[in-house]
Symmetry: C2
Subunit: 155 residues, 2 copies
């Protein structure tokens, strides 16, 4: 890849591309119909700083994104939670994921976070290998609980 690679914080104008990537990941995770949220939901939440995002661009094209938000660990304090971390299929295996992950960790340090946290599917071996290479602690004994409060998708 000889074209210029840039990592930067996402702006309002990137949200449409980000949502497109989110939908691609949902398809990879075999659940495309689970994306209920729409672009205006993203725009409103972004404006209210509910989340932040870093994007990676090659030659002006967005090839990866991470979406995260500040949370609170009751034992450790400030915690940056990595909700989504996507590199486009065609751009994998070139170290872009590592660059984006490093930028995310740098952002967590800027925000004075004591730790970062995320989730990974138990069958996602390439992702698990990536996180192990980054010396992550992988916890297998926690289950997620969820209650859906809105029963109908947005238009």
């Amino acid at each position: 890849m000889t074209e210029e690679t840039i990592i930067r914080k996402a702006t309002h104008d990137d949200l449409e591309s980000i949502l497109t990537l989110v939908k691609e990941l949902a398809a990879y995770e075999l659940a495309p119909e689970e994306v209920w949220v729409n672009l205006s939901d993203y725009q409103e939440a972004f404006k209210e700083s509910v989340f932040e995002s870093l994007i990676i661009e090659i030659g002006g094209q967005i090839t990866g994104v991470c979406i995260y938000y500040l949370t609170w660990s009751t034992w450790k304090g400030r915690m940056l939670y990595l909700e989504d971390f996507i590199i486009k299929q065609d751009f994998r295996k070139h170290g872009l994921g590592q660059q984006l992950f490093d930028a995310f960790i740098m952002r967590a340090k800027e925000l004075n976070c004591a730790l970062v946290k995320w989730q990974v599917l138990d069958w996602n071996i390439p992702a698990l290998k990536f996180y192990e290479k980054n010396h992550a602690l992988i916890e297998k004994e926690w289950w997620n609980g969820k209650l859906i409060l809105k029963t109908r998708p947005n238009e």
Copy 2:
């Protein structure tokens, strides 16, 4: 329990009691040394709205607490994440947990959240029964990844 039961949002003045409850639970789980965070960390983060808390009081005594924060589900939108949910040992089995959980759900609806999320240990049968009774979806296929960024506890 004939004394008055009150559920209310926590204020700055409750943070010391909240941290005491968090530490009691950590000690009960034989991990008191894992609580790195101190009262001034709680105060600063609370002031910056990094988290919110609801407490349950009986006769003026705090007997339970839940700690949560607003996050972003990339698929569903606004999500209230329940980080900690504690009822003091001596006050369990009186329905206080249900009252506090209901108040948490009400808060999530006020904040226009599409869902609530939390975690539960796979061996915690009483908690799992409680969440099943509340018609929660329990997901077993996600593992947690974590990276600790601060290696030394606060004083």
